[in-house]
Every structure is written in C-alpha cells, then in structure tokens.
Symmetry: C2
Subunit: 434 residues, 2 copies
C-alpha cells in the first residue's frame, strides 16, 4: 500500500519526506470575515455562527455550575481514576519546569536576573465533535494552573442539544478551571482574541483544531495575539532495528494512522526484513480496528524506508523532524543522542506514543509539519513570560558606564550615552563634595 524506499540518497530525501501541503489561503476569506464580524458584533455574531456552523441555538454560552455537577455524575469511576493518574504525572513533569530566580553579577555592582511571570489571560480551545479531547484539556490546563495564569478560559463546541461533553467538564473542574464556554470553530478563536460582553479577551490562545480553527489562529496572531504554535496534521516516525517487536511497531504506526486520513506515518528500518515483518503485522491488526478505514487511508500516504546505515537513518529522521519519534530498539537510550529535531521521543520497546498522548507526564501539544526544527512543544514556558531585571549600584555604573558611553556614541545615539554621563558626573560631584 505505502511506498518503500531502499537506502535512498540524501538528494532524494526532500521528495520522500514531503508532507501534504494544505493551502489555507482558500479558507482565509471566509475565516477573516467571521473574525471581523465577531470583533465588531461580539456575542450576536457568535450566536449567529454557532447556529450557522454548529446548528444549535445557544443563549448563554457559559457552562453553568449545575451542568458541571451533572457532568461529574456521568463519568465512570474507572475513567475518573485514569484521569487522576494522568493528571498527577503531567503535574509532576510540569512542576519540575518551574525555574527559580538566579541573580548573576555580570560585573561587580551589576546584578541581572530573569523572573518567570504567568501570562495573565489565556484561552484554551478544546475541539469537540467525534473525539472529545479531554486529554488536551489536561495538557493545556495543568501547566496554565501551575504557571499561575489569572484567567483561564476554555472554549469548546457543544452538541446539538447544547451540551458540552461530560468528560471535558469533569476534567476542567478537576484541574480547577471554571470558565467554560460553549463556542467552537472560528468564532471561538475570535471571541478569545477580541473579547465580547460575555467572553474575556485573552493574550494567548492554545489548542488544536480543524483547518478553520488553525487558519483563525494564524490570522489573529497577525493581529499581535500570541498562539501556542503553528499547526499541521499529526505524525509519527518510527526507527526500528533488528531488536524491534514488529507487533508493537505495527500497533504504533496504526495508532498514528487512526487520527485522520491526512496523518503522516514514517517507518525507518535497518533492514528490508524488518519492514516485511511489520507489514505482515499491520495487515493482521488493521481490520480489527474501529477506525480501520481512516487508518488505511493514512497508510496510503505513509513512507517505509530501509536505511542500513544507522547514521544515515538518523540524518534522515532529523531532516524529517517528526512530531513524535519512536526508537524501537534495545539500544534506544544510546541512539537518542543522535536526535536533533523532534517534538517528543519515545525510547525502547515499552514506550508507545500513546503513553505520551495521555499519561507519561510529557506534553502532547507538539510541533508538527517539520516545525520541530525550530519550535518546542507546549511546556510551562508556554504559559509564562521571562522578564529580565537589572539593578546597578554606583559601583556598577562606574564599572560599565564608560563602555556604554563608547558603544552608544559609536552607534550615533548620544542621548543613550548622555543617560550614563549624567549619572557618572553626579557620582563624581558627590564624591568631590564629600
């Protein structure tokens, strides 16, 4: 079904690793029109588009306490404890990212430091529809809470009866998020970007979505709003050597393929025989899956590549820069040193991508589409700004003042120079008058 390549030379990599290009320009006019309408007409526009796109009339967007309470009773105890274990692991991993303040005396009397302060207002978009992604709410909400964001709002579409998925509501309440709005799609991004009478404007928007949501996030980011990262279809690359378990690798490839027909699946193996064994397993497992049609469609666009030289294999994987990279090898820890570009990496035979998607503790909001070459996944950093501070004593400005004067003069900025000169002169005068 998918294409297989044998030790392709570097000149072929670009075409082999080509991702599907989606031209969002065709959507831009529609999306921009909705955003402008929301900016100008607020709640009225949101009601209109919720009716038009989601076919439901909503009068009060905000989810009520009664709805949240009711939702909790609809979630099984089994699922509740699973969510709790995931929450604990995600918390542990993200709390470890809290940075303490370290003061650096760069020159005697010149103290400099950075302080992390939460972005005060953040908006989390959680897609609804066929797959209610409560796991994404954990991944975005937990670091937002740890960072100390003052106002955290969640937008998520409701169903035809005006209800938000119960597990999403339960999860929000569990992690301590109260402001949840029944708004989806472009209009949700517009509401959070510009604010309305009932929805607070935020400074940064997080979360996945369909092409319309992605395009809307792109457009509001041009207006100066921060977004988590640019988005594209989800993807996995697997490196498998002789030590791999074909059953496991096949299951990992299929778990990515079930996301959507546009999901990317790349397998790099150290010999042709491994690919044959994995193919047999894919053929066996695929028909047993609920979403086998989606997975089959995704597999058609996948690439299986034999790379007998391990360094070439990792050069190719670094060139691809996968969102998820699985190293299906007994030697995974050593091999991990060869990784330069990836979103999140899964090492060894017992680390499927699924564990990172839900419960290992790492964040599952990751750079797709090769963005891992320059972007990191969501972390605590994504919810804070790091403000720099400097405090100079008289000794400090005396020690570096002349340097600043000389450099400012060389850049032709003499008012910059003068701001130092007036201070140095004042210090000299005070010393003279003592």
């Amino acid at each position: 079904m998918q294409k297989t390549f044998l030790n392709p030379g570097q000149e072929e990599w670009k075409s082999i690793l080509q991702r599907p290009v989606f031209d969002s320009k065709s959507l831009e006019d529609t999306v921009a029109a909705v955003l402008i309408d929301v900016k100008l007409n607020g709640d009225e526009a949101i009601k209109k588009y919720t009716q038009q796109f989601d076919h439901v009339e909503v009068d009060d967007f905000q989810v009520s306490d009664a709805e949240i309470e009711k939702a909790s009773s609809m979630v099984s105890d089994e699922l509740k404890s699973a969510i709790l274990q995931a929450k604990n692991n995600i918390e542990k991993f993200h709390i470890a990212q809290v940075q303490s303040i370290e003061q650096i005396e760069t020159t005697k009397g010149v103290l400099c430091w950075r302080k992390s302060i939460a972005i005060q207002k953040v908006g989390l978009y959680i897609p609804g529809g066929s797959a209610p992604l409560f796991s994404t709410l954990l991944m975005l909400g937990i670091p937002a809470i740890i960072a100390g964001c003052n106002e955290i709002i969640v937008c998520t579409p409701c169903d035809k009866d005006g209800n938000v998925n119960a597990v999403i509501l339960y999860t929000a309440q569990l992690i301590g998020i109260k402001n949840i709005y029944k708004i989806g799609g472009i209009q949700a991004i517009g509401a959070m970007a510009y604010g309305t009478s009932s929805i607070q404007q935020v400074y940064k928007i997080f979360g996945p979505g369909n092409q319309y949501v992605t395009c809307a996030k792109q457009l509001v980011s041009k207006d100066g709003l921060a977004i988590d990262m640019p988005a594209g279809p989800s993807e996995v690359a697997v490196y498998a050597d002789d030590s791999c378990h074909p059953v496991f690798v096949a299951a990992d490839l299929l778990s990515q393929a079930e996301h959507g027909a546009d999901s990317q699946v790349i397998l790099v193996a150290s010999s042709p025989a491994i690919i044959d064994d994995i193919q047999v397993e894919i053929n066996r497992q695929l028909p047993l899956l609920l979403r086998n049609k989606i997975a089959a469609a995704a597999l058609k666009n996948s690439r299986f590549i034999v790379m007998e030289n391990v360094d070439n294999a990792f050069d190719l994987l670094n060139e691809y820069a996968a969102e998820h990279l699985i190293i299906a090898s007994g030697d995974a820890i050593a091999l991990s040193n060869k990784i330069i570009n990836a979103g999140s990496v899964f090492l060894g035979h017992h680390s499927p991508e699924s564990v990172g998607d839900y419960a290992s503790g790492t964040n599952h909001t990751l750079p797709t589409n090769g963005y891992a070459k320059a972007y990191s996944g969501v972390s605590l950093d994504s919810f804070v700004k790091k403000i720099t501070f400097q405090s100079l004593s008289e000794e400090g400005i005396q020690n570096i003042g002349n340097t600043v004067e000389i450099m400012a003069a060389a850049e032709g900025l003499d008012a910059h120079k003068n701001a130092v000169t007036v201070r140095l002169e004042d210090i000299r005068r005070s010393a003279g008058s003592e």
Copy 2:
C-alpha cells in the same frame, strides 16, 4: 508638548495608553512580490532588489576574509575594549540560562525529561544605514553561539561602495560568526527564509528592521518559518517617585525618544511636582542632543501621567506592558514585585535603559507594542528547542498502561489503546511462560 493626565480612572487607560497603529497591509503586496521573486529566482532576484532599493551592485554577497581583516584595523582600541566588556557580560548572563537535563520519574518505571538542542540553522538580520547596530549582533550572536547553532548567518546591508560597516564585521569575527552577507531589507529575509544558491536557508530569523523587514518576517512566518517575535517601535515607561533624580529621568526619556519619531515615551509619576521638575530638565537637555529633532517629535506623542496611588500606577504600567520599564525610585527592588508585564526592567537610580541596551548582560531584543503581556525577550531559549523524552520499563508500562487504555477508549481511539494492549499482553505471556 506632550499630554499630561492626573490620576486617570481605569476606564481612560486604554485611550491614554493607545500606541500608534501602523497598518502593514499597505506594504504587504510589495513585500509579498519581492519574497516570491526571491523564492523563485534566488540570487538573481537579490541582485536586482539590492540595486533597486539600495542602489548598489553586488556580485559576491559574502563578505570576504580580507574585508573582515581590514575592518578590524578600522575599529579603535577603545571601542574594541568596550565591545569586549559588553560581550563578557552578555555571555555571563546567557550562559547562566543553560539548562541541565533533569530526569523525572513521574510513576515508578516512567522516566521523562527535556533536552535543549540548538536550532541548527539561524539567520540574524542586522540593520545598517544611519545606525550600524553592532550591539544587536552581540545580543543575537552570543546566545546563538552559546546554544550551539550549527549554521549562523548574518545579513546586513552594505553602503554605496559595497562595504559593510567595519564595527559590525569586527563584532561578528570577535564572537565567532563567519558567514556574513551584504544583503538588506525584504530580500535579506527572503534569502534566509527560502535559501538561494549562495545563501543557506535557515529555520529561524532574528533581528530588528524597518517596516518592510518587519512585514517580510511576518509573511515568511506564515510560511512556517520561525521568527524571534513580532515587532513594533521601541518604547520606554518610567515610574518616578519623590526620590527620583529629574536629571536622570529626563535623560532616560530622551534616550528612548532619540530612536525615532515613532518611539513611545511614557512617564508615570507619583506627584505633579515631579513631572514639572522632569519637564524642566527635558527642556534643558533636549537642545544639546545631536538627534534633538527626532527626540522632540517622539516627545510630542508621549504621555505624562500623575498617579498618586502606587498600586494604581503599577496597574497602569502592567496594562501598558512596556518593552523597557525604569523604576526611578530608591524603593525600586520592593516595587519590582508589582511588575507583571514588561520586557526588561531597570531598577533604581543607576540603572538607565542604556546599560541594558549595551552592556549589563541582559538581552536588548525585547517585546514591544504590548506584546510583553505574552512574549519574552530573546534569550538562550530562543535559540533552542526543548525536546521531551520518555523511557518506560516493563514496570512502567504496567503501572500506567491501564490508564492509557481507558483514556484512549474514552476518546474513541482504539488503535491508541491497542498500542498499549499488545505490550501488556506480551509482558503477561512472557511472565506466564517463565
């Protein structure tokens, strides 16, 4: 000249703090056309636009070793030692930002960690023209070198004779950057974003520039290229209380005002008398400055605000979210705890903005235009991606596997569940057969 406000109520803040809005849409067509031409025609297009916009013919864009050597002899020893002291301080502050790897065992057998890896290819844009910003090359080049970026290229315009400013070349050579290209403006951003036969494509572009450069960075970022941050005119806010030195504060306001007629200057004082004293000093210092016409124009758009209540003062300053914030108070350290939004903060009477612009050690590439509400300035973080890793033992997957299965099933993703199930079954089988 500028407007003064007395204890304005919160409902007035938005209009008082309004920044000049620049509509880049009018430039977009021009900029997009140049970018597409560079993408399609590479070096030929760059030559064409260098001739058209910069009125100089350049055959070989790359600065030669001979040019770099010659430049070094043209820089005074005094300036060389100033640059060296600045370099040392900037290095100290940014080396302290190197993060070691910390492994977190989120659940027994589940090891997770983050590893910072340099963005392999980065491009630094350094404006030329009237003010050759060698200080910006220090601020961008030093963290790029510390991060370990493999390929660092610098684009900067040359003069009518085809020469790049000597101090810029000296600085590049001092910090260890070899690939410098005589390209400016939109075509420089296009060259770094798409690559040409003579210029390497990069993954992230840094650096300030005029409105055309800013617009070009915005447009290539829509193509998936990472950029340091959105840009706007430079700005300072000063908080001054009774303890301030009006001479110093006036000099600080003027040092910001000399940047350009569109620079923003905000003064928040704890009494009307302070503003009067500072105004007297501005009137005295302004005529003495080389760039007094520019500074006078900028001051016309400035705002002087009396805020007798200190908490209100800082609420207003946090609402403004200044790129540079100076606390001209003997109590600056205590007051600094009230700061939530700012790019870089200058505490006390001997910490003018100039020291951070050049030599204290903090980075001077900072969020303007209120972006400090959601963005940090450039730091070592800007030059790395933080990749997450996870490695689970058999015990690890046994401890969290069931949680993953339950959550994946609840999200309707049974191939995700199956990737865990095949492993748990295998472990059970192995245990049974022992």
